[in-house]
Subunit: 348 residues, 4 copies
């Protein structure tokens, strides 16, 4: 199958290509980047040297539609709406890695992005790209929107608890920690200013909240609010979501395990993590970097009726490019883990 | 004034000495460490080379009482009870950096430490060493117990809100992030295994919870529960506490500022941090490492009635040795900031 | 093919297993570790969770010989001599990751290790495991000794220059920088003490010098001395060798390129790196972490007649487990890159 | 004494201010920064919050001359020539932290900076600001030029060896490793791209080479060439210079110690480091961060007649702002260590 990557010069585009160059079922025919037309891809993505001689080309919808069965769009939020629409209308399958088609309700773009969606009629065409929640819809979709990295990580931990009606949905506190490859760029990203931070960067009203609320509300069948606060920490890759919840009734650890096993027992990319000893008692991105896993675990604070649901992922993998490839595999009828069975790189 | 440091080979003992060697009002007469008797201090604490020719001596209570007006005990939890008692009975002033005299109620040692306190009759003699809360008592104390690093950082952010009755005390979620110099040692501390972690290490029932509950309950005049979860992140020094609280009534940002200014406007070592732009919008240990500051700030999530109180400190300074020196200054009638006015080392 | 890993609890053993669990041509039948008999492998190597249910067994030579066609020994230097001999005598193919069979001359063990080799008669049976230098011998070997991580990285940069007689062999200065997963353990490895170091740890007489001298002397046909100094830097994986050499005659950059291309033009795991602009002008482990590449490049300092040959690798991959798998592929007639075509994980 | 800082928004300007705000002999009257006129200093240098209410003003030479006895210029190379000249002509004492007045021979600016110096007649007025080498000249200087961070670190290790005629001056290899706060900015400085690097960034012809050659040649009384290669490593502050030299005759370790003690025995800011055991056998910036020390040590490689002279410093302290304050103290007749006796911050 022929694929293309639009926006191949960033971290997410680079990671998508990293996975594609060794994927057994695809050939990459097109990579685009406005600033780099005519340059070798490996000059901009040096780790790909030795894997590809691709050259950046211009963004020409007709050519892309000719050369690609499926296209990944890895361009900034707000810039993908047109590109996705143009390719959609030409019949190309699209996996969008921006936020532009994640929210179903166009009012949510006003609320979370302060931005009126220019093509609200295309929003219903998009499936939210979490196979663990929407596998059947993804199979038949032409357009899949990959989730936000913190959103998918948090949602996978919370959804089973919400589904079972176990937790108080008025007090869901999601405290996220994330590495530099997932946070936006800006004046604080220079190494000397970014190293060693434990920096709250949007304690209230972070955009990914909208996605989590959308997905959990769908699971619950009623509107749910989430209190989310992200923090930048000194790591390049990795997310940990500490999802503090309060249970509505007494519950044993065994029962919680059952809930999670029921949800994810058959899932290839969700690992349930809990140990009484050793280095890996709870989820920690350290032990999954480079893989497509979302690790989920929990601890119980009986004194306060608090159930701490923990989830970790590699923000460029399950949080972006890994999910994209997983979605492609589902959309195209490939084995869901094909070209994705990367063992975590530990220690790194 | 002559001072001694018992347990001078660890991080906390080393930091205490770092501050003492240049403090204008003290002379260090004694440093002890069981494993290093007879060795030069600067061999074990290499950064002190050039500042001192002290040699480790044995732990001899009578000699120490002869040579020291005040002693810092920087030894592991559980081992300080005897030492503190022995020196107390000899009339020496003591600043204890272990947890052994922090909790007033001996039952709390059973609960949080799984350990029966051997000398509960000495607990009332100890003052909890946070000058911002207990300055007057510290002035006249013979024994001051320095607070846990995460406890003091979190408590300083929460106490004013509790005092004003502003927040729902059933849902106080304290999500802490801390560097490697503050966490205990163990199999996960080797660099290759510790670098890059975002590791929940005791999501429920962490010991510092007991201190925070003790202090906030005293402020509130009623028993308060706190939901605390600490995380290890990849930094050597620094703590951030994200204190998620829910307000009981509507409150403006201005009013919250007033509450904090009232509490800390005159405090030399609490800085109120909030900016709409720039690099330092919210507390972040990055901008206070090496100083004795506890930085406090907040953000408001109106959708959920959530007030996120943020606090940061250097775990070896305000979280340990800096507080110890501040307490010494108060106990001895020195200027409270004497020998402590270190500018934060930024960037580092 | 059935394989085993002896010493599966360390970093090198873990990395070897990481590569083996997804290698299409092998089945892992045995993993051993003295301290962990009976435990699940993934408890000790948490990143392997989801890939294997192997359990650690005891070191029983006969059982291993029954169950394994080939064995990787990843145990500390000095402890492998017996194990390797025992398995060798049972006809098992062995890839040894310790230093015990790297040096051909038993006197070199006295010199570099201060240790008399107990089985010097087995030294000639071992091939030094660098396919780029000894591919034909490896094909037919029963015992292959994987090179030291800094040794192979440096040697690959220097060998072509020595072979061509280009450089003054009296002044070869190898300045190496390496991450924490490759350096030995000890009191300085705790995160708080290891983070942020730029620590010279054996400026003279480091053991890997012996290997480099052995290999370069063989290439030169005469005895060559090397001046090597390793440094610990704050990274988990990665080596950079800055090989400072002085040319014996004027030489153009073009000619140097030709020399390197002649040596490595056909090699799958050596990339030649040089660019005038962009992020990847010279080798840097940042851009190859997780892969089996050794990147080689250079710069010319005409003022001093100095040719700086630069080489980088991932110390756990090309510097250890990656070389081991590459050697296995060569020994067993598999495609040399089978199960090894990992794209570098960038950024990480 | 009234002082000003021109270029107060960068790392070097910020560090200079960090030292000045608590220096007992100075009052800061002026800080300038083109982009920040009218803003509070602590908004741009957040760690100074609580120490100063200074506001950035415009660069007005006459006003500055009125308000300042001494000015620090911390602006980019090439932009300081005019500013320094203007203030010099107004009789102000100047400590320049750029490279614009470091080299005595204007031809060296062509060679190392590719840039014709616009005011070569002012070069002789400037003293190279290393008190350990030029204390007497600094005492009477109106203009002192602070050395490059790698230059001063390397020079302090090499000068005594050159002075004694001990080493072969044809083969001096300086391999430097430096943190992100000292390297220039550019596309590779974003945290995700800079973290974990071991990046050679100018293996030949780095500009600091010119300074080292100038100073060593002066010491030797003859023209000396130096082979220098800097590397970026993953730390914010800190430099290690591994100065590989070859001795011209046999020399004992004792003799080398004597040479260094003779040179630096009385120096407050040079520490001689060497130990057979413990964590601090050789210089390592880890153990001096935040202080003004340059630590010097060595190891002997008898096999190759190689003497490895090692030196470490904090690039923002002894490598920049610390040297600036030290120079100020000397120029103004203060105690040389006044306001500079910072204990290293370890661990950090």
């Amino acid at each position: 199958m022929n694929v293309g990557v639009i926006g191949a010069s960033g971290y997410v585009g680079g990671e998508t290509l990293r996975l594609l160059v060794t994927h057994p079922r695809v050939e990459i025919t097109t990579v685009t980047s406005r600033q780099h037309v005519g340059e070798y891809l490996h000059r901009v993505q040096p780790s790909l040297k030795g894997f590809t001689d691709l050259v950046f080309s211009e963004l020409d919808y007709d050519k892309i539609a000719d050369k690609c069965d499926l296209v990944f769009t890895a361009i900034p939020h707000g810039t993908a709406t047109e590109v996705v629409m143009a390719l959609y209308d030409r019949g190309v399958k699209i996996i969008d890695l921006s936020a532009d088609y994640r929210l179903h309700d166009h009012n949510d773009y006003d609320k979370w992005y302060g931005w009126e969606h220019p093509h609200p009629d295309y929003l219903p065409k998009s499936v939210y790209g979490v196979p663990e929640l929407h596998r059947d819809k993804i199979k038949n979709a032409q357009l899949v929107s990959c989730p936000g990295c913190m959103a998918v990580t948090s949602t996978l931990a919370l959804a089973p608890l919400v589904r079972e009606g176990l937790i108080d949905t008025e007090h869901i506190v999601v405290d996220s920690k994330i590495g530099s490859s997932g946070a936006g760029s800006g004046s604080g990203t220079a190494h000397a200013m970014r190293a060693g931070v434990i920096r709250p960067y949007k304690p209230a009203k972070h955009r990914h909240t909208g996605e989590i609320e959308q997905e959990l509300s769908e699971v619950a069948g009623s509107k749910i609010r989430v209190s989310m606060s992200p923090h930048a920490v000194d790591v390049v890759r990795g997310i940990l979501c500490t999802n503090h919840t309060f249970v509505k009734r007494e519950v044993s650890e065994k029962e919680i395990w059952k809930i999670y096993r029921k949800a994810y027992g058959e899932e290839r990319f969700v690992r349930l993590i809990r140990d009484k000893k050793g280095l890996y008692k709870f989820p920690d991105p350290k032990f999954l970097v480079g893989s497509n896993f979302c690790d989920v675990g929990f601890d119980m604070d009986e004194d306060n009726g608090r159930l701490i649901a923990l989830s970790a992922s590699d923000n460029l993998m399950k949080g972006a490019a890994g999910s994209a490839i997983q979605n492609m595999n589902v959309m195209c009828g490939f084995d869901e883990s094909e070209g994705l069975l990367y063992t975590p790189l530990t220690p790194v």
